[in-house]
């Protein structure tokens, strides 16, 4: 086979890709990384990172992590059960189709419209809030608020669950029918099959996707911004306030907060791709 002749453009085909990624993804991040290491009187230092332990930063990081963990685990479990129901629950196949199409929509419905939808549902004058009032329960007097950890968790799940459904459905399809039959022929109950065959095979996918969900919630900004006007105690919103006007009164610390997010995201993506590779061993 004769290799096709390539003009000088051996690299020309991929050059624009690298130029764009370099200018608009990598360089901006490197600038933040460099500035985060810059001391207030010049010179390189880790002083900015040591100030990450301040109360303001820790509380917003803490809330971000708390919401991301909660919605990753809850969204992961609920999404898994939905995927199980439509893939192997014995329902008519069109439910699977509707579920996966709707998941595609809902997973991409984050941002301002989602926040509005929840304000109209569970905000102070939302429909559900009003219904509860008719039943004699004042949600907001009894401690509920849409603009709290609990409220935000409820909102985030709206895009977290569908993302889980979308990513775990193919994994469920990867469970081979022969494994189930072999287990049954050996006298295994349905529980034993799940406990000893299906779940061990699925665990890397499930964990991996939960980590994906964690990152998805951790980096989310638009929905929380629209819901709380940017004032809630989240790491992304703190960075937003830092962009608009140095709320930390320390530019260097702002860069360190931003880089801290990048490190956490990078770490979770790393674990995710490791688990993804493991799950590919069985599920092809």
């Amino acid at each position: 086979m004769r290799p096709p002749r390539i003009p000088i453009g051996h690299w020309l085909g991929v050059l624009p890709f690298f130029v764009f990624s370099g200018l608009f993804l990598i360089a901006p991040t490197l600038v933040l990384a460099y500035r985060s290491l810059e001391g207030s009187e010049g010179g390189l230092t880790l002083a900015n990172y040591s100030q990450l332990a301040s109360d303001t930063v820790l509380s917003s990081y803490g809330m971000s992590i708390k919401i991301s963990l909660t919605t990753a685990v809850l969204g992961g479990l609920i999404g898994f059960f939905i995927a199980w129901a439509v893939a192997m629950g014995g329902l008519p196949p069109r439910f699977r189709l509707i579920t996966s199409t709707f998941s595609g929509v809902a997973a991409n419905f984050a941002g301002v419209p989602l926040a509005s939808a929840y304000v109209f549902t569970l905000g102070r004058v939302g429909i559900i809030t009003a219904l509860f009032k008719l039943l004699g329960v004042d949600l907001y007097r009894s401690g509920f608020s849409l603009y709290s950890f609990f409220g935000l968790t409820l909102v985030y799940l709206y895009f977290q669950i569908p993302l889980m459904v979308l990513t775990i459905l193919p994994a469920l399809d990867g469970l081979k029918r022969e494994w189930r039959e072999a287990a049954e022929n050996l006298g295994a109950t349905s529980f034993q099959y799940w406990r000893h065959v299906a779940l061990p095979v699925l665990t890397p996918s499930i964990l991996g996707t939960m980590i994906l969900l964690f990152g998805n919630a951790f980096g989310a900004h638009a929905t929380a911004y629209a819901l709380t006007g940017g004032l809630f105690d989240l790491a992304t919103l703190l960075i937003g306030r830092q962009i608009s006007g140095d709320v930390l009164h320390n530019p260097g610390l702002g860069y360190a907060v931003a880089m801290g997010m990048v490190f956490i995201m990078a770490f979770s993506i790393l674990i995710y791709s490791f688990l993804q590779r493991r799950s590919e061993r069985w599920l092809r």
Binding site: F17, S21, L91, G240
Partner: protein, 279 residues
């Protein structure tokens, strides 16, 4: 056929019924969770006029002097993003598949970056890099807009690359390329007349996904002070009572349309592929 019906068929049957019942239960509860916010929003959007249900909120939204300009600006941004992204990603995926397989890990690593760098961090870096001399690219509204589109292009790489890469795997790129070459086609002809048409479905999927993401994007546009749909929607929720509900429904319809077309076309394509496989 299978042997699964052999042991204790009644037990298997009862567990199948139990499975179906719990599946219905899960789907019913989750449908409520997902549909109630949409229903509530739709109901609000119909109450724009006192005591009558109607489309007053939609009429007011479309009549708002800021709505159409920001909407059309976002559409233009999205279309520009899609074209640029296609122009960059298709050759890259093609070259990586055919000519430079060693580059694949590097390209795949780069397509992970948009997930590693949160949007708010990225725009922070963009502002620090391009809003001060010597690289003053955000001096005017329009130059900022160009930067915004370029950032969107970079953010679309993961979706676009994955779609195009899947599309390339589905066709035999090598054979098609060699066939075209042996007929005397040059690289431009091969790319535009052979590869592009064969990737129609994949390109459409990548393009529509990008559209759905860019059209209402808030974070980056907000901090770059762009008057696009995302910041407009955020303003609306603070200043108006009924219009935001109409806006949310319109946004949901747009997302639904984009995803629906991807599914519909994708299913048609896979049926087509299955049919030609069985020949």
């Amino acid at each position: 056929m299978t042997t699964s019906s052999l042991p204790a068929s009644t037990k298997v049957k009862s567990s199948a019924i139990r499975n179906r019942l719990s599946s219905w239960l899960i789907l019913t509860i989750m449908s409520l969770y997902f549909l109630i916010p949409l229903g509530a929003t739709f109901y609000w959007s119909l109450r724009g006029k006192k005591d009558v249900l109607g489309f007053e909120a939609y009429r007011k939204l479309f009549a708002d002097t800021n709505f159409l300009p920001s909407f059309s600006q976002s559409i233009v941004n999205a279309v520009a993003t899609i074209f640029l992204s296609l122009l960059i990603v298709v050759p890259t995926a093609y070259w990586v598949t055919l000519r430079l397989p060693k580059l694949r890990p590097v390209v795949e690593f780069i397509t992970l970056l948009p997930f590693v760098i949160p949007a708010v961090v990225l725009v922070f870096g963009i502002i620090r890099l391009y809003s001060s001399p010597p690289l003053l690219l955000t001096a005017t509204y329009n130059s900022s807009r160009v930067v915004l589109i370029c950032v969107y292009v970079a953010l679309s790489f993961p979706y676009m690359f994955r779609s195009v890469d899947n599309g390339l795997r589905a066709i035999d790129v090598k054979t098609l390329t060699e066939a075209a070459q042996s007929l005397g086609a040059n690289w431009g002809t091969i790319l535009f007349k052979v590869i592009f048409p064969n990737l129609r479905v994949a390109l459409l999927a990548g393009a529509l996904l990008t559209f759905a993401i860019v059209i209402g994007e808030l974070t980056i546009a907000l901090y770059m002070a762009q008057h696009t749909l995302g910041p407009y929607m955020a303003d609306l929720t603070r200043s108006k009572v009924y219009e935001p509900s109409a806006m949310a429904i319109v946004a949901f319809a747009i997302t639904w349309a984009a995803m629906g077309i991807i599914d519909f076309v994708g299913r048609g394509a896979s049926r087509h592929a299955q049919m030609s496989d069985s020949d």
